[in-house]
């Protein structure tokens, strides 16, 4: 049986087993490689993608549950010939990217956060990031990036 869903604006169909992780289908069939395999058990957040706007751990998300949903990954945030989003720019300018393993997941989590809460305080940002583990940065500059991106978005509105 096939499952159909939209990835970054394009409809896709897969005949993969219903319990195949969405992560695997995205990387191996759809060809979006931004979600990363960290823990493989849904805790580290490196595999975070948005399903209908909500962050989920794609390594634990059965592709059957993705049917008829809209999935967004980093590849869907801005095209190669387009400027980066405010979140992406801020992660760079605030020095929040070191090894980069956690970065795609963090970008998706922060993108969803600012869509839902355009002016979060730092506590809200930290709470939103509990599902994204970073071994390099100590999170301070990630939080700075979130606050900076919020300012940028607000000033553009």
């Amino acid at each position: 049986m096939t499952h159909s869903f939209v990835v970054n604006g394009r409809t896709f169909q897969t005949g993969a087993d219903p319990m195949t992780p969405l992560f695997t289908v995205l990387r191996d069939e759809v060809g979006v490689t931004s979600p990363k395999l960290g823990c493989g058990e849904g805790r580290c957040g490196a595999c975070t993608v948005l399903v209908d706007g909500s962050p989920v751990a794609s390594c634990l998300f059965p592709v059957a549950n993705a049917a008829d949903t809209q999935i967004t990954t980093v590849e869907g945030l801005s095209r190669p010939d387009e400027p980066l989003t405010a979140v992406q720019d801020a992660m760079l300018s605030c020095g929040a990217v070191q090894c980069g393993a956690c970065t795609p997941g963090i970008v998706m989590t922060l993108t969803a956060l600012l869509d839902e809460q355009p002016e979060p305080d730092e506590d809200t940002v930290r709470t939103a990031l509990v599902g994204n583990i970073c071994r390099c940065t100590g999170y301070h500059k990630v939080v700075d990036a979130a606050m900076c991106a919020a300012e940028t978005i607000k000033s553009r509105a």
Partner: protein, 278 residues
């Protein structure tokens, strides 16, 4: 080898019950099934069963669909009697988990003593609406938990009904090793009925401390008859709770530690309740 299939055409509870009886597995959020070493041979998607969805206001109660996620529960319109549940849902885990993990699976999973929603539902006196080959039934959650490990294969939780009396207030606290994100080492839910500032009835429930979440009748009783926040009543309740604990050892924390923090969590919940009323 079985080729796993998805029974995507199942959209009624009755058809789901038949499929479960034939060996299918109910797939809710998937966060437990996807971590298990064996995959089911066929699945019924809970998301496709309309009866399992949504929040329905009833007279002095609310009916919660079993497929509601923690995130959706956390966003339910606030009522003091429901606060323990919405707080448990809000504090649990982290966003990626809260966005998929469901109310029904939190209750039904027999290998999940850490489940946060269960103590809140116990304190609230929630009832489960079940469906199986035997038809529909309504069971208090405390009773369900006693046989959670041995339910019928074709049974599923359809909805959860939580009474919302006007004079009731509740809250929930959990303790993790690190600041957030993990399964709780211990959690406490308290639900109290007040007459002015006096406690006329109280339910205290604990989670993750023991092999199974449960109510502590002794701790609840110790709070009754005093003003909310009364220090002596709180101390009595803490002692009564401590006396009955049979804590479990696990990799995230030993039993003696869980037992030592649980009464303190009870004090914290009651103090939170007290200041929310002030």
């Amino acid at each position: 080898m079985n080729v796993p299939t998805s029974t995507a055409q199942i959209t009624t509870v009755e058809d789901a019950v038949v499929a479960l009886g034939e060996g299918a597995t109910l797939l809710a959020g998937g966060s437990w099934l996807m971590r298990s070493s064996s995959k089911p041979s066929s699945v019924v998607r809970a998301a496709l069963l309309p009866e399992l969805g949504g929040v329905r206001a009833e007279r002095d109660a609310v009916s919660l669909g079993a497929v509601l996620t923690h995130a959706q529960l956390a966003a339910v319109a606030p009522h003091a009697a429901l606060r323990a549940l919405t707080e448990a849902a809000r504090q649990s885990a982290f966003p990626q988990a809260r966005n998929v993990a469901t109310l029904g699976a939190n209750i039904a999973n027999a290998r999940f003593p850490e489940g946060d929603l269960v103590p809140a539902l116990l304190a609230a006196g929630a009832e489960l609406e079940l469906a199986s080959g035997d038809g529909r039934s309504t069971v208090p959650i405390a009773e369900y938990l006693l046989t959670r490990h041995a339910r019928r294969r074709d049974e599923l939780i359809v909805r959860v009904r939580v009474p919302l009396p006007a004079a009731r207030t509740s809250d929930f606290v959990r303790l993790t090793v690190r600041k957030a994100g993990e399964y709780a080492l211990a959690s406490v839910a308290v639900s109290i009925d007040l007459n002015d500032r006096f406690v006329t009835s109280a339910r205290v429930a604990i989670g993750s401390v023991e092999a199974r979440q449960r109510l502590s009748p002794e701790a609840g009783q110790a709070l009754v008859g005093s003003a909310i926040g009364d220090a002596a009543a709180i101390a009595d309740a803490m002692a009564a709770l401590a006396e009955t604990l049979e804590p479990r050892d696990a990799v995230d924390g030993p039993g003696w530690y869980r037992a030592s923090v649980t009464p303190v969590l009870l004090k914290r919940v009651v103090r939170r309740l007290t200041s929310s009323i002030a």
